[in-house]
Symmetry: C2
Subunit: 270 residues, 2 copies
């Protein structure tokens, strides 16, 4: 079973909570790590976030997120790149394990071109991140997001992109929701050895209630969180495991009830 | 541009029409082929369908569908297999190019076990189909259906399964909605050379309005139907191209208006 020392609250799970509330929640429930989202960091102020996580003794497993490179205009792409640099800065200040990169997608840009924009965006970001000792974690998103959120859709594809850089510069973030269906997922996890920067868990509900907000708590769906976590362990990753759940019902539930269930499910099912 | 002689109306596009109405619609709009669904064949009667398609001079590109093998009990699996044999029979009677296999998925069966049930189901069906000269077309479905409809989710995976049999016994059915996102889709189509039994087109809408009913008319979304069709041509497939669209708005539109737009979009965009 997964040890609670590896558990990290990804702040997306408690969307209604501020950074301060999420930190206090982690402390109350014995959760040693947290992953912060940039819009929440902005609300609280970066320096305050740095101070609060330190004071609480919390480890920051990741900052979400950089990337989102494909865009219809050069001006917009330039703006996105600037945002990614700010994300790197925040990641460095918070001493997070890695910056999560959700690479983006754009209705106006053909998918092949969007993938080229991602390659170019990553190439431009890597030197900036290396100077600040920030590791960049490419997160492949489920293929159903290829039109809207991410043209990076499989572990295989993420590894092909990451391998253009040193193993301590660019890696992959694996999320069971995004990868559970892959017929070669266990082979791909093994191939990711040395490049795994993070693991996210939640569950795939059947029937899928919603494309964006349809994720479930571990145990409520069909993803083999235990099997996938063990495979990631075997591939040499022993770091934090974030619980990241986008689900309106969970967002509408009091945060302490969510964290209580999350700890219970994590320690018994992951 | 795709020639209209390759166009086939997959009956799912005009769900509100009977077989007779769909056949008459094809004749009115100069569509030379049709793909029939089994629940519609049952309503009309198999012999009537055979006679009507012959009288109308229509080619039957496929029968939808066999498969759906994974199930929680042996009894249910046996029932599904019996249904697949009936689907083969109907395919033979209608002289269709192939039987479309949607392999199924089951909430109660872990995905790895479900994939084994699919392998076993196919192995049991192939001899029966060969005796009746019916070709079996494995259709990989989009990974978002892995929990509900199909544990066969990529061209690569479908080819691995098909290659256990002769190239004139088991092949693949490619649907742009299901495969457009694949980072290696063009390489995979080339690898499918000699095994491509059919091509389905529609479009991927952004944002995706619904998991099951969110498909769009060609040109309304982001799938590169032209590029994918040309790649399939280059890989040696020159048979029928079905338009298969599950979309409530299209289902609520008068069938003749749907067929008119379908012919226009097919000849100008596919």
């Amino acid at each position: 079973m997964a040890e609670i020392r590896r558990l990290s609250l990804n702040q997306a799970t408690t969307e209604h909570w501020s950074v301060q509330q999420a930190i206090e929640g982690c402390v109350r429930h014995g959760i040693p790590s947290i992953a912060l989202w940039r819009h929440k960091i902005k609300e609280a102020g970066l320096n305050v976030c740095v101070q609060m996580t330190r004071d609480a003794g919390l480890h920051v497993s990741s900052v979400c997120r950089g990337g989102m490179w494909p865009a219809a205009t050069a001006k917009e792409r330039s703006k996105r790149m600037e945002e990614s640099r700010r994300a790197v800065d925040e990641c460095a200040e918070l001493d997070a394990d890695s910056l999560v990169l959700v690479v983006g997608a754009c209705r106006e840009v053909p998918i092949a071109d969007a993938r080229t924009m991602v390659e170019d965006g990553l190439a431009a970001l890597v030197p900036y991140a290396r100077e600040r000792s920030v590791r960049l974690g490419l997160e492949p998103l489920h293929p159903m997001y290829a039109g809207e959120r991410s043209v990076l859709n499989t572990i295989d594809q993420a590894l092909a992109l990451a391998r253009g850089y040193d193993a301590d510069a660019v890696g992959v973030i694996l999320d069971t929701f995004h990868i559970w269906w892959d017929p070669y997922v266990y082979e791909q996890i093994e191939r990711a050895r040395g490049r795994i920067y993070g693991l996210h868990v939640c569950d795939w509900l059947v029937p899928l209630p919603d494309v964006l907000m349809g994720r479930g708590m571990m145990g409520d769906g069909v993803a083999d969180n235990r099997g996938l976590r063990e495979a990631v362990d075997r591939a040499g990753y022993h770091g934090s495991i974030e619980v990241e759940i986008f689900n309106q019902t969970i967002w509408d539930t009091p945060g302490d009830a969510v964290l209580e269930q999350m700890v219970e499910r994590f320690t018994s099912l992951v």
